[in-house]
């Protein structure tokens, strides 16, 4: 015989409620707007279309890689090879994205395919090898970087001029790279999010055991997440080639993008534990990371100190996110 209980209050709420992920994204947007505003204000020439274009392009490079990073993170994993795939596709593009329009188009398709395949390989090893993503992507990153080195032992190469120009210019002061980001969001991210496999990624990150018991298609969802991640990184590789007109296999570049993509993802409100977050937040997180460097220049701080500031921003962002923990009343909650 069990005890009676008091009636539980109705839970229906009618007011607008923001999910945790939406709140995170809004915060990232707010931070970015403030920072960029300060940047523009401090610019001696103001926010000219040129300044906006440069900032947009630089940020878009990281934004795409950050979007790439978001997908595996949603499933509760991590992709330490995104920077290497970026460099690999950059070097490849500097070899094959040139010539007449037909060759250029084929080259672009080839590069995207390579990115997709790299991501898919990661996914296959994670899913069927049953290995931890952080180790798999760490090791595969080395492999992809090695291939990049073989493609471009020395920096060089070229890219179809029209293609590069189109990717990097602005029309009526709107940078094409921003339009590219919008296109990626509308044609890749949003459909993905609303698809069964996309939602399955969130489910896996939330609780893989419960997802299995619920019959969620775990293998396919993970494969798609990693494959798309490779694809997005390759789009960034194309953009990088368009900006630099060349390919370079430098470990520093790969590391920089990988690490910054993780920072961008965190600032954008995605949880490193999986199950919560959006790629849109990661875009703004990426722009926040890049604007830090710009702010340093504009405030006449020795650019040599940039890594220091970027690191501090990262630490502060993570600490703020974790500070909510200090407000928890029941310490046992921490162990849930």
């Amino acid at each position: 015989m069990s005890v009676e209980t008091a009636a539980e209050p109705a839970v229906r709420r009618n007011r607008l409620r923001l999910s945790a992920a939406q709140r995170g994204t809004l915060i990232a947007v707010a931070i970015f707007v403030i920072m960029f505003g300060v940047y523009g204000w401090k610019q001696s020439v103001g926010l000219t279309p040129n300044i906006i274009n440069t900032a947009a392009n630089k940020g878009a490079l990281l934004a795409l890689v950050a979007m790439a990073q978001t997908l595996p993170v949603l499933t509760g994993g991590l992709d330490l090879s995104v920077g290497a795939v970026l460099v690999l596709t950059n070097c490849l593009a500097s070899n094959i994205v040139n010539g007449d329009p037909l060759m250029t188009t084929l080259g672009v398709i080839g590069v995207l395919l390579v990115g997709l395949v790299c991501g898919a390989i990661n996914g296959v090893i994670v899913v069927y090898g049953r290995l931890q993503p952080i180790i798999v992507t760490l090791a595969m990153g080395a492999v992809y970087f090695g291939i990049a080195l073989a493609l471009r032992p020395q920096p060089g190469g070229s890219v179809n001029f029209d293609f590069a120009d189109y990717m990097t210019r602005s029309t009526f002061a709107v940078p094409h790279s921003v339009l590219l980001l919008l296109a990626v969001v509308f044609f890749i991210w949003i459909p993905y999010r609303r698809s069964i496999l996309g939602r399955a990624a969130y489910a896996i990150g939330s609780s893989e055991q419960a997802a299995y018991m619920s019959g969620v298609p775990i293998a396919r969802a993970k494969l798609l997440a990693y494959a798309l991640s490779g694809l997005l990184a390759s789009i960034s590789g194309l953009l990088l080639t368009a900006i630099t007109y060349s390919g370079a296999a430098k470990a520093a570049i790969a590391n920089d993008y990988t690490l910054n993509s993780i920072g961008a993802v965190v600032i954008g409100g995605t949880s490193l534990f999986g199950g919560v977050g959006t790629a849109i937040g990661s875009i703004f997180g990426a722009y926040v990371m890049r604007t830090v460097g710009d702010l340093l220049i504009v405030f006449d701080i020795n650019p040599v100190l940039q890594p220091l500031f970027v690191g501090m921003v990262l630490l502060v962002a993570v600490s703020i996110g974790s500070l909510r923990v200090l407000r928890i009343k029941n310490k046992l909650d921490l162990f849930r």
Partner: protein
């Protein structure tokens, strides 16, 4: 309802081993349309494993499953779902970060142009929730924000959303409020009348006698008997389950009244608006119960005493000395000597991937070590003592604790705390979801501990337990103690009326009611 010539679901010769341990061996099962079939047995008897085989979560090593006479195999839960079998598991299969609607529609959402149609999905969720009586749950709420009871309702709604032919419920009502249990029962009866086959695992005998048409008892991974409900007495069933003579009395109370100074004295304890000026005293050797409706502050009181809550007001004295209980380390320390057996053993009590040995020493690492170096011999001796005391069944204490049955896990949790030789033991609904045999062992243990001088404070939602085990019961309402019951007054009627904060009953308990301890003692003699 006319059953067909062949039972809807049959399982024959099912066996499953985990490593060297036999979970089930050559097990049979049958159930029919329009019937509710209950599975009974101790924890570890194999019921959960059988269910997991039927639901496609695990693959059997041997045996066949027949659906309407046709052999089927389920490689994964999806296959079983597609075949019309839906299962509500004890460990819920809900995704905490996703909404109720997303969870209900997780595998087969309504779609538009290949993408999920969230509007239609929400309507589908509302319909499913209404069917189980959960209309007041907002489908857009993330699961993580719902109480355990609500989550279980959603879990049931999710199972029903795909219109299964067979519904399996594994301890599906253990976390539900009593009102919700009634709703679920009504719904289950209706579904049965509509022709669904229902398989129901529960430890609550009265639920089974109310609900089930047939029963099957399992023990140690084998079938024992199958019979229509009502044809065997409760005692006979329990004997089948535990395989030995069973006496349904609680261990006798100590003859001597506890004397001396209270070891725990609490004055005006408060926390937010969930605990209101609580004062109590417990003497060494006393077993004090906490009763009352769910959520009146009983768990919070125990957590506050153990130091896990921040911002607690009031004073606490242990052995006459005032203590500031700011964290569990302090409560655990030898000077204070408290232990807390928590509500949610999987998350709060045990480190599941670690071995039984590691879990046992975890809490007591200070006592088997000096200057930071562990004395491995002392460790072995201490562990051995506890394992013997609790009769923990395990094929070696170096196996992962996650593979033990629920009851055995709970015993490991208790064992873990006994290693610290506590003087004050706090228990937060310790026997929920535990089989009858293990419950008995736990009651015996508590008696022994109090006999050895420990003070015990014990929250339970089970009247029989409160009446049978405690010297007195403090009934809580609205975060305060509204009545204290002991001796003759400690009976069901008074527990209920005090829980509802009604004035004390003046009439004696009705004749024939066996709710008092005196009544039970009279019966047993």
């Amino acid at each position: 309802m006319n059953p067909g010539p062949v039972p809807l679901l049959q399982a024959q010769g099912i066996s499953k081993h985990y490593g060297g341990v036999r979970a089930i061996e050559d097990v049979q099962f049958e159930c029919d349309r329009g019937k509710i079939h209950a599975l009974l047995g101790e924890n570890g008897a194999g019921k959960s494993t059988l269910i997991k085989v039927l639901a496609g979560v695990v693959q059997p090593d041997a045996g066949i499953i027949l659906l309407d006479g046709e052999p089927v195999t389920f490689a994964n839960p999806t296959a079983a779902n597609d075949a019309g079998i839906a299962c509500v598991f004890q460990e819920l299969s809900l995704l905490p970060d996703l909404s109720v609607a997303d969870n209900i529609g997780i595998t087969h959402p309504p779609r538009r142009y290949g993408l999920i149609d969230h509007g239609a999905q929400r309507r589908m969720a509302e319909a499913a929730l209404a069917r189980v009586g959960g209309e007041n749950i907002d489908p857009n709420t993330p699961i993580g924000e719902l109480s355990l009871s609500r989550r279980q309702m959603v879990e049931i709604a999710k199972a029903l959303a795909r219109d299964p032919k067979i519904l399996i419920l594994d301890e599906a009502t253990s976390a539900l409020t009593a009102a919700d249990v009634e709703k679920v029962f009504t719904m289950l009866r209706q579904l049965r009348d509509e022709g669904m086959a229902i398989v129901y695992i529960s430890h609550r005998m009265h639920e089974i006698s109310q609900l089930a048409d047939d029963c099957t008892v399992y023990r140690n991974g084998h079938n024992v008997a199958t019979f229509p409900t009502g044809t065997k007495s409760d005692n006979a069933i329990v004997e089948m389950m535990i395989g030995r003579e069973y006496e349904s009395v609680f261990p006798p109370l100590s003859e001597t009244k506890p004397e001396g100074k209270p070891i725990l004295k609490v004055a005006d304890l408060g926390w937010q608006n969930l605990l209101n000026e609580i004062s109590l005293e417990i003497r060494p050797g006393e077993v004090v119960g906490l009763g009352g409706l769910d959520g009146q502050g009983q768990s919070q009181l125990l957590l506050a005493l153990f130091g896990t809550l921040v911002g607690v007001t009031g004073t606490v004295e242990v052995d006459g000395e005032p203590v500031r209980l700011t964290n569990p380390q302090r409560a655990k320390s030898p000077e204070v000597g408290m232990a807390l057996i928590p509500e949610d053993r999987k998350n709060e009590g045990l480190m599941l991937p670690m071995t039984v040995r590691e879990n046992l020493t975890f809490a007591a690492v200070d006592r088997v070590s000096r200057f930071g170096i562990i004395d491995t011999e002392a460790e072995e001796v201490a562990i051995g003592e506890v394992v013997d005391l609790l009769k923990i069944r395990s094929d070696g204490i170096d196996g992962p604790v996650g593979s033990l049955s629920g009851g055995n896990q709970q015993k490991v949790v208790i064992g873990k705390w006994l290693m610290t030789k506590p003087r004050i033991i706090l228990l937060n609904d310790p026997t929920r979801g535990i089989d009858v045999g293990t419950k008995q062992e736990i009651y015996q243990l508590l008696r022994r501990l109090s006999g050895d001088g420990a003070a015990i404070l014990f929250y339970s939602t089970d009247y029989d337990e409160l009446i049978g085990c405690c010297d007195r019961v403090l009934v809580m309402y609205g975060g305060a103690v509204v009545r204290t019951l002991h001796g003759e007054e400690l009976n069901e009627t008074n527990l209920v009326s005090a829980a509802l904060n009604l004035p004390a009953a003046t009439a004696k308990p009705a004749a024939g009611q066996n709710g008092t301890r005196a009544g039970r003692a009279a019966e047993a003699s």
